[in-house]
């Protein structure tokens, strides 16, 4: 509908990445409570993160709460300014774009928020919520009403329900409205910020399947931010695991699940419950202890070493020295995919 002659589909090498993130850094200042509010430190929310997302591809960004995955998504979308680094979309660096230039790119980059109860204006009927991006970009013409009805139909809602208010819908339906709003401008890429974590498990599947169908139908690329590995395994082509602002391991979803190389990934994967009770009892569990270190004062060297079971149990004193002194690069050490651990080795856990 929106692909008129004035807005040709972006010409792009279908093999190259749609979006590349290079050395993205985001620090938040920590200020003292006093009158002068001078800066007393920095929270290293995102630290030297790089990844690519290809056309029609889903990249799952996984990690525990507070590891910087949502901040990464927000910096990508220009909702927060980046401290340094590049976000290259279709040959342009988004971090350097002006507001007006960004406005055009926003048509192609859209976001679905985590909480469907907070992301829809409770005072606007659903039609208006979905129509807003169209109006802002001047695409709500004479057929605007039909476009909105079509969008609601696409995400599996009844177009007749368009003049209802968000509170009259269930969580899953609201998230569908959020998806319809994100789709209104026919984007090429969606950032999904924990799109199903606020939903019941039974509803999650419906929304995930919808996202899958939409990817097929419109050729979308997804950045799927989640803390739920089993969900990510279901939807993602490639996975990046984050810990304390850094990507610790990345690779194709199948490879990563078949042979996780970083101790943190291994711990996460071994925590996924298995449906078979016999397997569940027999499996080897890798447990991590303690809390996430303070991101304002991250550990030297490998950030995971304070909780790393390998560091605590298997390494010699000399090997530990290296973990403390040297930041492990995210490179392939012979496991078939990159992992940021000096002593990475694949382990079959599932």
């Amino acid at each position: 509908m929106t692909e008129t002659a004035s807005n040709p589909a972006p010409t792009r090498d279908s093999q190259g990445p749609v979006l590349s993130v290079r050395n993205l850094v985001k620090h938040f200042p920590v200020r003292a409570g006093g009158l002068l509010r001078r800066q007393v430190g920095e929270v290293h929310a995102v630290c030297d993160v790089s990844f690519d997302i290809g056309s029609h591809e889903t990249l799952g960004l996984v990690g525990e709460s507070g590891c910087g995955k949502t901040t990464t998504a927000r910096v990508l979308m220009h909702l927060e300014p980046a401290t340094s680094g590049q976000v290259v979309y279709d040959g342009t660096d988004l971090t350097r774009l002006s507001r007006t230039a960004m406005q055009q790119l926003r048509r192609e980059l859209q976001i679905v928020f985590q909480d469907p109860f907070a992301s829809l204006d409770p005072r606007l009927p659903v039609n208006e919520i979905v129509a807003e991006p169209l109006r802002i970009h001047g695409l709500y013409g004479a057929d605007g009403r039909d476009q909105v009805r079509e969008l609601l139909r696409i995400v599996g809602l009844k177009p007749e329900h368009g003049n209802r208010f968000p509170h009259e819908f269930s969580g899953g339906q609201r998230q569908r409205i959020g998806v319809a709003r994100a789709l209104a401008l026919r984007p090429t890429m969606l950032v999904l910020d924990e799109p199903v974590s606020a939903l019941d498990v039974s509803i999650q599947a419906g929304v995930l399947n919808l996202l899958d169908e939409l990817q097929e139908q419109f050729g979308l690329s997804y950045l799927f931010v989640s803390h739920d590995l089993s969900v990510v395994r279901h939807v993602a082509d490639r996975i990046a695991v984050m810990y304390l602002g850094r990507i610790v391991e990345t690779g194709r979803a199948d490879d990563l699940f078949a042979a996780p190389a970083h101790p943190y990934t291994q711990a996460l994967i071994s925590a996924i419950p298995l449906p078979d009770p016999r397997k569940e009892r027999a499996r080897q569990r890798i447990t991590i202890t303690g809390d996430v270190p303070n991101p304002a004062d991250p550990p030297s060297g490998c950030r995971f070493r304070t909780r790393c079971p390998k560091f605590a149990e298997q390494l010699t004193e000399g090997q530990r020295r290296r973990c403390i002194d040297e930041i492990p690069e995210l490179v392939d050490r012979g496991q078939g995919h990159p992992a940021a651990c000096h002593y990475a080795e694949g382990a079959a856990l599932l």
């Binding site: 976001i111 928020f113 204006d121 005072r123 401008l185």
Partner: protein
């Protein structure tokens, strides 16, 4: 619920209610609010009374043979009669015409002060909170500075230098928006962090549109309450000032001067102030009813107690 809707939409073609149902299939927000407001009987009654008071205040004096300065030397301190509908004063002035004259002043002052002060408060509060930084600091500095000024004294000192009673409106409004502005600022601070505001900001909605489309409607209830409270307070403030001799100057009258003049003889000659007091009560009450109705109409989740009772009996909530 969905079954009910589809059944209804399937039934409408060709039925007598079809045109209305078709036209309102996807109504704009304004029409939705209007529809919900009109469904509230009490609010419509309030609006009718309020408009009626305006009409009465301006048309009433034309129907009476007297003007507010005329003195009927044949009737001093007479109770209501066919000649003088609300009676006469000590010097033979017609109380009906004077009450209407006073009502005009009080309604205009109350309504305009209420609307102007809340509008200013909304704009200042939302702009300060939404943009933050030096805009916020500058605007709140002005608010704090004005809050320490004694409003009554400033108006009392300024008002004698103006002869036109209309100057009361900006003078009162200037001191009525301050606290509301701070409340609006506080609410905006929390609203602007909501995800739907961020979603709007992300899709490139300009700030003024975010403020008036996403932020202001979400605090409509408090703004409407503020308007209605301000209208009542403005009428009372004007009354107080006039009572002290700083507001509307004689020979002109307002409800305030009428009440002030009449209170001394309230027990012996009640018609001197009773009618003015009655109209004051009716005016403020009707404004409050309209405010209640508007608040319910703007808030999709609020249902009036009456509607909720109906809902429990098995009807639909709105």
């Amino acid at each position: 619920m969905s079954g009910g809707v589809s059944a209804r939409s399937a039934a409408v073609p060709g039925s007598p209610v079809d045109p209305a149902a078709g036209a309102t299939a996807t109504p704009s927000r304004g029409r939705l609010v209007l529809r919900r407001f009109l469904r509230n009987k009490l609010a419509v009654a309030g609006l009718t009374v309020f408009v009626g008071l305006f009409v009465l205040a301006y048309v009433g004096p034309l129907l009476s043979p007297w003007s507010y300065t005329d003195q009927d030397v044949t009737a001093y301190l007479q109770p209501p009669s066919a000649d003088h509908w609300f009676g006469t004063t000590q010097i033979g002035e017609d109380v009906f015409v004077r009450t209407m004259r006073g009502l005009q002043k009080s309604l205009v002052i109350g309504l305009l002060v209420g609307v102007i002060s809340t509008t200013v408060a909304t704009v200042v509060g939302t702009v300060a909170a939404y943009f933050g930084g030096w805009v916020d600091r500058a605007l709140m500095w002005v608010v704090d500075l004005m809050l320490v000024l004694p409003a009554l004294l400033v108006i009392a000192i300024l008002s004698p230098s103006f002869t036109n009673w209309l100057i009361m409106i900006p003078l009162l409004a200037a001191f009525f928006w301050l606290i509301a502005a701070r409340i609006v600022r506080g609410m905006t601070l929390s609203l602007r962090e909501r995800e739907y505001v961020q979603a709007a900001r992300f899709s490139g909605v300009p700030p003024y549109k975010i403020i008036f489309r996403h932020i202001v409607p979400n605090m409509a209830s408090i703004l409407i309450i503020d308007v209605t409270v301000n209208i009542g307070q403005a009428v009372l403030a004007e009354t107080g000032l006039s009572f002290l001799g700083f507001g509307v100057q004689p020979p002109d009258v307002s409800l305030g001067t009428l009440i002030a003049d009449g209170t001394s003889s309230a027990l012996t000659f009640p018609w001197l102030f009773m009618f003015a007091g009655l109209f004051l009560v009716i005016a403020v009450l009707s404004v409050n009813l309209v405010g209640d109705g508007l608040r319910d109409a703007f808030d999709p989740q609020s249902t009036s107690p009456r509607a909720r009772r109906r809902w429990r009996r098995g009807g639909r909530p709105r």
